[in-house]
Amino acid sequence: MQDIAIARAVFRSRGLMIGLTLTLIFAGAALLSFAWTPFDVTKIDVASKLQPPSMLHWFGTDHFGRDIFSMIMVGARTSIAVALVAVGIGMGIGVPLGLTAAARRGSFLDEFIMRGNDLVFAFPSLLIAILITAIFGPSAVNAIIAIGIFNIPVFARVTRGAALSLWKLDYILAARVAGKGATRISAEHILPNVMNLLIVQGTIQFSMGILAEASLSYVGLGAQPPTPSWGRMLAESQTMISLAPHMAIFPGLAIVLTVLGLNLAGDGLRDLLDPKIRKAR
């Protein structure tokens, strides 16, 4: 019953539909690229460089004659992997921190966690990402760590905020009367009820992770060649923008559409999952 209602709401919300479709397209392309791409993305064929889009090369070729469509497919893999793991790090560490802070609200630990969060927020994220990759060398792994670190306080804060309002509810009191401890309550009652919010936030952080990965790759600090990545494709296209505009346009569009898709999906999910908004309709 409820599931059908939700499914209906999903279909009714145009933004969510568009968002999910775009996200699925790119996720699908990324998965498909493991098995098949129209061309081998590492194969260099200088003779057919800088070809405009054609029936053979749908998005044209780059300055090494590689097929841009294939590179975008494999690039999706890189972007999604980096952003996904970074979100995973943020959630994996941030959510427990937020739950703990909320469970021991007002305590020294809470204060400590929240001040620590503020502190991380005070550091300019892109700069620190550049610093990390500069000290430890540019690579996808370091990009993940750099992006992941800044996801931690975001999730900690969202979790704590939502958990705090849950802790005020009577059913938490009822669970305490039933003799359940803070950890058990956090796992059994708080976490499932903040999950909606975390999914929404996760989607948004995911899209921001994709942008961050693109930025880092653009300055050469992300995934290293020959692994294709959208940001580096843009960097490489820059001097050829008037020679072969397709080199700049397609990877750029890939980023825009993926981020757009995720954001639309995130917003749509929020509208769908947030009871306050749902009630107001």
């Binding site: 550091f123 892109l126 700069l127 610093l131 653009y218 300055v219 923008i241 700049a248």
Partner: protein, 315 residues
């Protein structure tokens, strides 16, 4: 109010101290001996020793930290290892580009976002609202460096309205300098304005659904009057937080845009210094940017109190 300010000030100072310790640790302790790190593995021992002395590495750790902090408090940031000039001079010079750029971009952001957000909120659900919000979704999704590239292609290369990059200096005249910052500021402002417009809209919608708006309407205020006289000021509270975050982002986050437009600003300075392993500069710039963020947050906190009287009274 004074009490509130003092309390904020106290946490400002603590944040600064902790931040400085973290930065000091990350840059001076983590990579091992900074001097050998900066000079590379094959450096002559006497060169390393000389640099160690120049960097004041021959004293205990805490002493070094105190020296560093003390120096910064008196405006002495040390001497750059590559440029051999005082770091404060370099930063001062770069700041004259980064700061105006950040302020310019922030002004554009606010000037665009506020009207757009207010328009969308006051016509919630209308075609205008849907269009504007769709456009902001797009704005958020566009990587600013890509947008910058496209703008250079159109406005500098094809139309030749603007120069493609570089900064002639403020000596060249205010308008000339401002013109050189225009494309970068727009590139920076686009995603930020989109974000801010969305925040503005949703914050206004939240306040518009508050009970006191209903009270106002019952008093005989029109929808518009209620929005302008009552909702707007209350809606500003979350908006201010975002504006504060955005300013710090714009100050530090212009790294990539500075690269695209070839602006000799702070971001590029850090980028260069990192690749040249000029740790003294990196350390000082990072500290300065963090300082800026913390001070801006402080200012935002004070602005809260200005907007929201509930905070003034609280002890």
């Amino acid at each position: 109010m004074i009490r509130y300010t003092l309390k904020r000030l106290q946490s400002l100072i603590i944040s600064l101290i902790v931040a400085s310790i973290v930065i000091f640790a990350a840059i001076e302790i983590v990579p091992g001996d900074p001097a050998s790190f900066m000079l590379g593995v094959n450096a002559q021992p006497d060169t390393v020793a000389a640099l160690r002395e120049q960097l004041g590495l021959d004293v205990p750790l805490y002493q070094r930290y105190l020296n560093w902090i003390g120096g910064m408090l008196t405006g002495d940031f040390g001497v750059s290892y590559t440029y051999r000039t005082p770091v404060s001079d370099i930063i001062g010079e770069r700041l004259w580009i980064s700061l105006p750029l950040a302020l310019y971009a922030l002004s554009l952001t606010v000037l665009v976002a506020f009207p757009v957000g207010i328009l969308a909120a006051s016509r919630r659900g209308s075609a205008t609202d849907v269009t504007v919000m769709g456009a902001t979704q797009l704005g958020v999704a566009i990587p600013n460096f890509w947008f910058a590239m496209l703008m250079v292609l159109v406005f500098a290369i094809n139309l030749r309205w603007f120069s493609a990059g570089g900064f002639p200096g403020w000596d060249a005249g205010f308008w000339v300098a401002l013109k050189a910052l225009t494309l970068p500021a727009i590139a920076l402002a686009l995603p930020q304005a989109s974000i801010l417009a969305r925040v503005m809209r949703s914050s206004l919608l939240d306040t518009l659904s508050e009970d006191y708006i209903r009270t106002c309407r019952a008093k005989g205020l029109t929808r518009k009057q209620a929005l302008w006289r009552h909702a707007l000021r209350n809606a500003l509270i979350p908006v201010l937080t975002i504006v504060g975050l955005q300013f710090s982002f714009l100050l530090a986050g212009a790294i990539i845009i500075e690269n695209v437009f070839f602006l000799p600003g702070l971001g590029r300075l850090v980028f260069q210094s990192i690749s040249q392993r000029d740790l003294i500069v990196v350390e000082s710039v990072v500290m300065m940017l963090v300082f800026a963020v913390i001070v801006v947050n402080f200012a935002v906190d004070l602005a809260y109190a200005w907007v929201d009287p509930r905070l003034r009274g609280r002890q």
